[in-house]
């Protein structure tokens, strides 16, 4: 091929926005927003944990809650049990892009590890507490109340595992010279740690802004998490896009 024609091809290429990225990473990427959309539908509409039912209710009211929502809890959490691998995939691709940073792998493994820890007490325990609660009609109300408390306290109150993950994420971004993610995303992750701290009183308070359904301990946390997650998904896409197709596999 003559030099002239290849340079004209280069010019044409430079004009087009390069849609790079590796196809396997793209495949994994698209699972992330798909999973979290399903997750949102399950947690908001079906499983009735977002928003969570109130802590300041009587045992009878807890029994009534499970009775009234048994069907959607079964559908919602039943599906979650099937698709929760998506959470692992989401954590995996973040860890993958973190490994492409200049900081080496320690923070990537921390993130991967801490988020994996969080999957049990922070997500699946409430699923199985609620599924068990609605499994048999006519269970002793006191047992239902225990499952209610255990499920919701673990769901809203699993704090440190995620705080550690956000810490690893923030440190990695701040030290990274490859600019895989923007620096301000590290600060958004620090806000996430703040919301974990503000959720500490859920183990104490039964009503008001610091209860597990409270405006500060729960709702503000959801808002900040929603913002953080949206940013992460957007920047995962950008990071995947900007990855050169011929980048060698990571160590």
């Amino acid at each position: 091929m003559s030099a002239q024609s290849s340079s004209s091809t280069d010019v044409a290429d430079a004009g087009r926005v390069p849609r790079a990225g590796k196809r396997d990473v793209w495949l994994v990427f698209w699972i992330v927003p798909a999973f979290y959309t399903a997750f949102g539908v399950i947690f908001f509409a079906l499983a009735r944990v977002m928003p969570p039912p109130r802590p300041d209710v009587t045992t009878d009211q807890m029994v009534h809650f499970f009775h009234a929502h048994a069907l959607t809890i079964k559908i919602g959490f039943g599906i979650l049990v099937l698709i929760v691998g998506g959470a692992g995939i989401a954590n995996g691709i973040v860890a993958y892009h973190m490994k492409r940073m200049t900081v080496g792998s320690v923070m990537a493994y921390c993130y991967l590890g801490a988020m994996s820890v969080g999957a049990l007490p922070g997500c699946l325990l409430v699923a199985f507490c609620f599924l068990t609660a609605v499994y048999r009609p006519g269970r002793d109300p006191q047992l239902l109340a225990l499952l209610y408390d255990l499920g919701l306290l673990s769901y809203v109150g699993s704090l440190g595992c995620f705080a550690t993950a956000y810490f690893a994420f923030a440190v990695a971004i701040l030290y990274d010279k490859n600019e895989i993610f923007p620096k301000w995303l590290a600060y958004v992750s620090i806000w996430q740690i703040v919301t974990e701290i503000m959720a500490v009183p859920v183990f104490v308070s039964k009503a008001g802004p610091f209860a597990w359904n409270g405006s500060i301990a729960f709702w503000l946390g959801v808002v900040v998490f929603g913002f953080w997650l949206s940013c992460v998904i957007v920047f995962l896409m950008k990071a995947t896009e900007r990855q050169p197709v011929d980048e060698p596999p990571l160590d």
Binding site: P182, K183, W184, A186, Y187, V188, I190, W191, V194, I197, M198, V200, P201, V204, S205, G208, P209, F210, S215, I216, L220, V224
Partner: protein, 208 residues
């Protein structure tokens, strides 16, 4: 004597850097870096939400909140406010010194600012321990839950600020290059921490 030497040294330094700082001043720049401003503005929004929620709950139970507020030691609150204001003054002057390329002075001032930050934490710890001794814990009532949580998360920000100031110090100690935007970003964060405290002080201690 020492003053005269210092003034002379300052003038020399100023003369030497007058070209560079004049050149810098000609290009207006936002102090710090955009990323830190995202942090500051976002943090202010989040805390703003906490403050609004506090006001709403205060309006729902004005008697209880007023009766509880009386038990806070306003003198300690004022002391904390003065300490943090002093630290902000030191940090602001350290940025000026850094801009004038007087890194030694900037370091000294950053140390002083950090020392005030440590003092703030110690005073706050003392205040908490006296309150707990008097029987006012996080589960006493809603006001005290706000008190401990707002001052607690603020304390977390102060600790983070001390970490950031130590990074600023390392930057100022680096002979090869001292990135001004890092010093400014650290100062921006520190001023935010001070601002947050002033609002917390006003809401929890002063508002009647």
């Amino acid at each position: 004597m020492a003053n005269a030497e210092q003034t002379a040294a300052d003038l020399d330094a100023a003369a030497a850097s007058s070209v560079s700082s004049a050149a810098r001043q000609r290009t207006l720049h936002t102090p710090g870096d955009g990323h830190m401003w995202v942090m500051v503005l976002g943090d202010l929004i989040i805390f703003g939400a906490y403050f609004i929620i506090f006001m709403v709950h205060r309006a729902m139970k004005p008697q209880e909140f007023l009766a509880s507020e009386v038990h806070l030691n306003i003198n300690i609150g004022v002391l904390n406010t003065l300490v943090l204001l002093a630290s902000s003054w030191f940090i602001a002057r350290s940025v000026q010194a850094a801009r004038a390329d007087d890194h030694a002075q900037a370091r000294r001032l950053t140390y002083l600012g950090g020392l005030c930050g440590v003092a703030f934490i110690l005073i706050k710890a003392y205040e908490w321990s006296t309150k707990i001794d008097q029987g006012y814990t996080i589960s006493t009532n809603e006001f005290f839950m706000f008190y401990y949580m707002l001052t607690g998360v603020h304390l977390f920000h102060v600790s983070l600020g001390l970490l950031i100031l130590s990074i600023t110090l390392r930057e100022l100690r680096n002979p090869r290059r001292c990135r001004l935007f890092m010093v400014e970003a650290g100062a921006t964060y520190w001023h935010m921490v001070d601002l947050l405290w002033i609002v917390i002080f006003a809401l929890l201690y002063v508002m009647r």
